[in-house]
């Protein structure tokens, strides 16, 4: 499995290949459509992330000392953003997640192209993933 940094660089590279933001949106929509579904049991109020205009559910488990993330949203572009985050943070150790920086989001210019509410939602999603990492790291210690 590649390191978080290597995956982040890959994503930055991919995003730089598109000519404009319409194409990037199309890409995110395709990612969103291909996101594996979260177990219905986790699409409840308990797993909802606050701060998003669309609904976002994130669930994590620890398998072989790695975080496995599943997520869903009722909005497709949001699902695309989640798919990117899952690619970066799923199948990584809690420690690696906690140490990873998030500047790849600035590098792909995602924040400026999201409405303020969606950008807040993105921050909330990363925060939630890191919270899961903190919880599982405590278990591992």
């Amino acid at each position: 499995m590649n390191s978080i940094e290597a995956i982040q660089d890959e994503i930055v590279e991919e995003f730089s290949l598109f000519e404009d933001w319409m194409q990037r949106y199309e890409y995110m929509i395709e990612l969103g459509k291909s996101l594996p579904l979260i177990d219905q049991a986790y699409k409840t109020e308990n797993y909802i992330i606050k701060g998003c205009q669309s609904k976002v559910w994130v669930h994590a488990t620890l398998e072989n000392e790695q975080l496995k993330l599943t997520a869903d949203s009722d909005a497709i572009i949001t699902k695309g953003i989640i798919a990117i985050l899952i690619r970066v943070y799923s199948n990584q150790s809690p420690k690696a997640i906690l140490n990873a920086n998030t500047d790849f989001i600035d590098k792909i210019g995602l924040k400026e192209h999201l409405s303020p509410t969606r950008a807040n939602g993105l921050v909330s999603m990363i925060k939630q993933i890191k919270m899961y990492a903190v919880a599982f790291q405590t278990q591992l210690n």
Partner: protein, 404 residues
């Protein structure tokens, strides 16, 4: 006949690019754009008049005070209030409503009932819920029908001698419905209940005659009608405003202050503590001048043509559902297309330079009524064009190809 190209030249923001495209601004119900005639008044204020009003002995203060009080008279005349001092200049609709809610705390008891409608903005719900918590009074809700009009038979049944205050918006921000406020006011007065009308969404399209309406309180914001943000109006009948206690204590609102007892200033100053938004108040007056120079009949006629044109075009889109189809509505269209999330549609439109509002529009009970998370809302102003609507429709079709 409206000369829309001439009007558009007055609004510098309409010529800017957004995401590389010419801006199409269809979020007028959230805030309207500002013409040069208003921007220049703000610049002129800070260039020539800036000083504190109502207290300076010097020339600048006198000129600024004159300009501010002239604006108040313009607002009074526009809305046909009986007296200038019945116009309280506030920070906007929300503050105006909170001022009244705060003022009635001491007049209510647990036997009393307050009434709102099912299509209110959160700012015309929450202050009254807070007032009920404080006083023990009960909040009743006038239900609405599927076409987005109020159920007036239900209103008749809810109204009784315990009803003390009724709060209804003149126009719904989420649906565009024009409510029968004259009928509501007359019926409420039959039970000696007072009526506050939230005019935030109505005033950009309709010129209300407050004396003819015989309304007790009417509130609105300048930024919905080509004025600046952070300034608005509370109209109240003088005898009612005189009874109410001050909202905030501070400078300007006093007659005399000693450590033993302070007496309050007369209207309107009793409710205008502290240094107000002076340039905002003056610009509010200028915004009304600007809109009156075009004429509200002309504005309403043209906006209605835009509304009909866009509604007809939207109805041709497969899977479209329009929320709010009242026979009498302003130029606001709330809709969804199939299962597509409004936020997705709004995001793609934004990439195409088209500004719409998505979400619950601060009217969650309206969304709950239709059992939806939100809508896409396009709202038009007199400076919008049929060509912009064509781009909007083409944008939706493009977004649907991507999202479906």
């Amino acid at each position: 006949m409206i000369d829309v190209n001439k009007i558009r030249a007055d609004f510098p923001i309409l010529s800017r690019k957004v995401n590389g495209q010419d801006l199409v601004y269809f979020d007028n119900a959230a805030t309207s754009q500002t013409p040069n005639q208003v921007i220049e008044v703000i610049v002129d204020y800070y260039s020539r008049l800036n000083s504190n009003i109502h207290r300076g002995v010097h020339k600048l203060s006198q000129e600024a005070t004159d300009a501010y009080e002239t604006a108040r008279i313009k607002i009074q005349k526009h809305f046909n209030a009986a007296e200038p001092y019945e116009i309280i200049l506030t920070a906007g609709t929300t503050e105006s409503i909170n001022l009244i809610a705060s003022g009635y705390t001491k007049f209510l008891n647990p036997k009393d009932e307050l009434m709102i409608s099912a299509m209110e903005h959160h700012s015309n719900i929450v202050p009254w819920q807070m007032l009920c918590e404080k006083t023990g009074a009960h909040l009743k809700v006038i239900p609405m029908k599927l076409d987005g009009t109020l159920n007036m038979e239900a209103f008749d049944k809810l109204l009784n001698s315990k009803t003390k205050l009724v709060f209804v918006n003149h126009v719904s921000n989420a649906l565009g419905t024009v409510n029968p406020i004259k009928e509501i006011i007359n019926k409420a007065h039959g039970y000696e209940a007072l009526v506050l009308i939230d005019g935030a969404q109505a005033c950009p399209h309709i010129k209300p005659d407050l004396q003819a309406l015989d309304v007790d309180f009417y509130v609105t914001s300048a930024h919905k009608l080509c004025g600046p943000t952070g300034v608005g109006m509370l109209y109240g009948k003088a005898e009612l405003l005189k009874e109410l206690p001050p909202y905030q204590g501070g400078g300007e609102m006093i007659a005399t202050v000693t450590f033993e007892k302070t007496t309050y200033a007369d209207l309107p100053h009793k409710f205008e503590a502290g240094t107000p938004n002076i340039s905002g108040g003056i610009a509010f007056g200028a915004a009304l001048d600007y809109m009156n120079s075009i004429g509200f009949d002309t504005i309403a006629k043209y906006e209605n043509e835009l509304l009909t044109y866009c509604t007809d075009a939207l109805k041709k889109i497969d899977g479209i559902k329009i929320y709010g189809e009242a026979p009498d509505k302003t130029a606001v269209i709330s809709f969804n297309v199939g299962e597509i999330h409004p936020y997705d549609l709004g995001s793609i439109l934004d990439q195409l330079g088209i500004a719409v509002r998505t979400g619950h529009h601060c009217a969650q009970p309206v969304m709950d009524f239709f059992e939806i998370p939100g809508t896409v809302r396009a709202s038009f102003s007199f400076y919008n064009t049929f060509e912009e609507i064509d781009r909007f429709i083409a944008g939706i079709q493009k977004a649907l190809l991507m999202l479906r």
